[in-house]
Amino acid sequence: TTHVSVLAEDGSAVSVTSTINQIFGAGIYSSRTGIILNNELADFCFRAERLSAGEQPPSSMAPAILSSSSGKNTLVIGGSGGSMITTAMALSIMNHLWLGMSLKDAIAAPIVFVDGKNNVKFEHGFDKSVIEALKVIGHRVTDYEYFFNVVNAVAKEDGCITAVSDARKQGKSAGY
C-alpha cells in the first residue's frame, strides 16, 4: 500500500491511498502486460463469513482531507501499513492538531498499536518509562517487530505549506 498527498496552487487537494497488499500482493506477474496482480480478496479473511461477486472487502485505507472552519488551513493526510494505518494516522493527527507537534515530528513519533486481540505493541523508540507505567495500569504489552506504518501528509497553515513524506519508507516530499 502507498499513500500520496497533494495540495495544488488553486487550493484543490487530493489524498489517495493505493494498494497492492502485503509485499507484491498475490505474487503473480503477468508477463504479457508487465502488471503485478494484487491479493485483495485476502482482506475478507476473518472479516466476513461469505463473499458476493462485486463486493469490496473491508479496508483500513483512509485517505483524509481536513479543512479548518476558517478555510485557511488544510491537512491532506493518509497512510499505509495494513491494520496500522488507523493508529498511525490517528496519532499523527492528534500529535499535530492537539499535542502541538510540528507535522514532521507528529509523523515521526513512534506509534502504539493495539492489535486485533487488544494486545498493545510499541514501535521501536517509544518512551520506555511510559511503557512500564502502562503495564502497571494493566495493559497487555507484547513485543512485535513488523511495524509497516507510513504516513504522508501536506499541510497549509497561515499561508505556508509543509509537506512530509515518512522517513520510515525513505520518502521525501517536493513542492515549490
Binding site: V4, E9, T33, L37, P57, M61, A90, L99, T162, Y176
Partner: protein, 386 residues
C-alpha cells in the same frame, strides 16, 4: 546655491522627497512580505506533493508546475510509485481518492478491487492464521486502479491524459537505479525467496535467477509498452481491449478465475465524503468499507479528552497514552461494523462517526485501569500488515 532659481530648488526637494517615499515603500513591501509570510525555510509557498519517494514526489510536483491539477499530480506520482515501490501498488491493484475541489466540495472515488463473478467457493477456508504471504491466483480481485484514474482525471484533470504517463514510461523503458527501500526488501531472505519462487522473478531477478539488489538497474520494458498503449488509447485498452485479454490469459494460466466480463463491468464508486467535525477542523473521509470510520471513531473519543501540548509533559504523558489505548481498544470492538454496505444489510457504520456515540463510549474509559477483552466487545482477529 544662490545661482539656482527657487523653482529649481523646489523641484530638487520634491524629487528627493518622492525618491525617499518610494524607497521606504519598497523596504516595507519587501520586509512586509517576510513578516507576513513568516514561513520557515523548509516550507513551500504554492503547492506540494508527499509520496513514498523523492523521485515520485518530484514527478508529481513537476506536473503541478506544468499547470496540472492536484489530481494530475497525484496520478503522475502514483504511476511513478508503481515502478519505485512496485511491492506496494500498481495497475493490478486498486485505490481510494479523496478529492477537494477549489470550492471546497469533497468527493471520494473508490476503485478498490471487487470479487469476480466466479471465485473459489471455499476461499475463506484458506485464510492463514499466522503472519505469512497470502499468494496465489485465488486471491485476485477485479483490478480497478486505472478506471479510478480515468474517472478522477475526467472530473478534475487539466493536463492531457497522456502527459501524466510520460515521466514514468521514460523511467520504465530507460531503467533507473534500484530504489534503496525496494533493494533492502529484496535483500530479506523471506521476500527474496517469494520473488524467486514466482513469476515476479521475470522482473526482479538477473538472468541467472539471483534476485536484483542495490546497485542494479531496474527496468520494466513490458509495463512501459502497456502504459504507452493506455496513455495513447485510454483505459478501455485495459478494460475491454487487448491488454485486458492478455492479462486474463496470464491470470487463467496461473489458475485464476478473472474474465473479460469482470473487467468490462468494473465500476468506480463515486460518493460524497463523510464529514466529521474535529474541533476547529472538518475531517473528510471515504465511506465504508474504507477504514475512515475507524479513524473518526478514535479521534472522536480522543477529542473529548481535550488534550493540549501539556498532555505530553512527564506527569500527563502516561494518562494521555492510556486514554488513547483505551480508545483504540473500543475501536477494535467496532471493526465488524466496517463492511461493504452494498452487500451487507447488517447494521452500517454511520454510528462510528457520531459524536454522541463517542460520548457514550468515552464514559466507559477509566483513567486508572483497563479491562478484559469482553468489556470492549472485540472479536479477536489477526491483523493485516498491508
Amino acid at each position: 546655491m544662490s545661482k539656482y532659481k527657487p523653482w529649481q530648488i523646489c523641484c530638487c526637494l520634491c524629487i528627493g522627497l518622492f525618491g525617499a517615499i518610494i524607497f521606504i515603500c519598497l523596504c516595507m513591501l519587501v520586509f512586509g512580505v517576510f513578516i507576513h509570510r513568516g514561513c520557515s525555510e523548509d516550507t513551500y509557498q504554492h503547492a506540494a506533493v508527499s509520496a513514498d519517494s523523492k523521485l515520485c514526489s518530484d514527478i508529481g510536483r513537476d506536473i503541478l508546475q506544468q499547470g496540472g491539477s492536484a489530481v494530475d499530480g497525484a496520478i503522475a506520482a502514483l504511476l511513478c510509485t508503481s515502478l519505485v515501490n512496485p511491492q506496494s501498488m500498481g495497475l493490478g491493484g486498486g485505490s481510494i481518492f479523496t478529492v477537494r475541489d477549489k470550492t471546497g466540495t469533497v468527493k471520494t472515488f473508490s476503485s478498490r478491487e471487487t470479487v469476480p463473478q466466479s471465485f473459489k467457493a471455499d476461499l475463506l477456508k484458506g485464510c492463514p492464521t499466522s503472519v505469512i504471504f497470502i499468494t496465489g491466483s485465488q486471491w485476485i480481485g477485479v483490478p480497478g486502479e486505472l478506471r479510478g484514474y480515468e474517472v478522477v482525471h475526467r472530473m478534475y484533470g487539466k493536463l492531457p491524459w497522456a502527459r501524466l504517463f510520460e515521466p514514468t514510461i521514460r523511467l520504465a523503458r530507460e531503467g533507473f537505479p534500484m530504489p534503496p527501500f525496494l533493494g533492502s526488501l529484496l535483500n530479506i531472505t523471506l521476500i527474496g525467496n517469494l520473488v524467486k519462487a514466482t513469476s515476479l522473478c521475470e522482473v526482479f531477478c538477473h538472468k541467472n535467477k539471483t534476485v536484483l539488489g542495490i546497485g542494479d538497474t531496474l527496468k520494466f520494458p513490458k509495463l512501459a509498452e502497456t502504459m504507452e498503449t493506455i496513455a495513447e488509447q485510454g483505459v478501455d485498452a485495459f478494460y475491454t481491449g487487448q491488454i485486458g485479454l492478455d492479462l486474463i490469459q496470464d491470470v487463467k494460466a496461473a489458475g485464476g478465475t478473472l474474465t473479460m466480463e469482470d473487467l468490462k463491468s468494473f465500476r468506480v464508486r463515486v460518493e460524497d465524503a463523510w464529514t466529521v467535525p474535529l474541533g476547529d477542523y472538518q475531517m473528510h473521509i471515504p465511506p465504508p468499507p474504507a477504514g475512515g470510520v475507524m479513524l473518526a471513531f478514535i479521534l472522536n473519543l480522543v477529542k473529548g479528552f481535550h488534550f493540549t501540548p501539556r498532555s505530553m509533559e512527564e506527569d500527563q504523558k502516561v494518562l494521555t497514552y492510556h486514554c488513547y489505548i483505551e480508545a483504540a481498544k473500543f475501536a477494535n470492538g467496532q471493526r465488524k461494523s466496517v463492511h461493504d454496505p452494498v452487500f451487507n444489510t447488517k447494521k452500517d457504520a454511520s454510528h462510528m462517526v457520531d459524536s454522541d456515540f463517542a460520548d457514550r463510549i468515552r464514559v466507559l474509559i477509566s483513567k486508572n485501569r483497563t479491562y478484559n477483552d469482553s468489556y470492549y466487545n472485540i472479536t479477536p482477529s489477526p491483523d493485516r500488515f498491508g
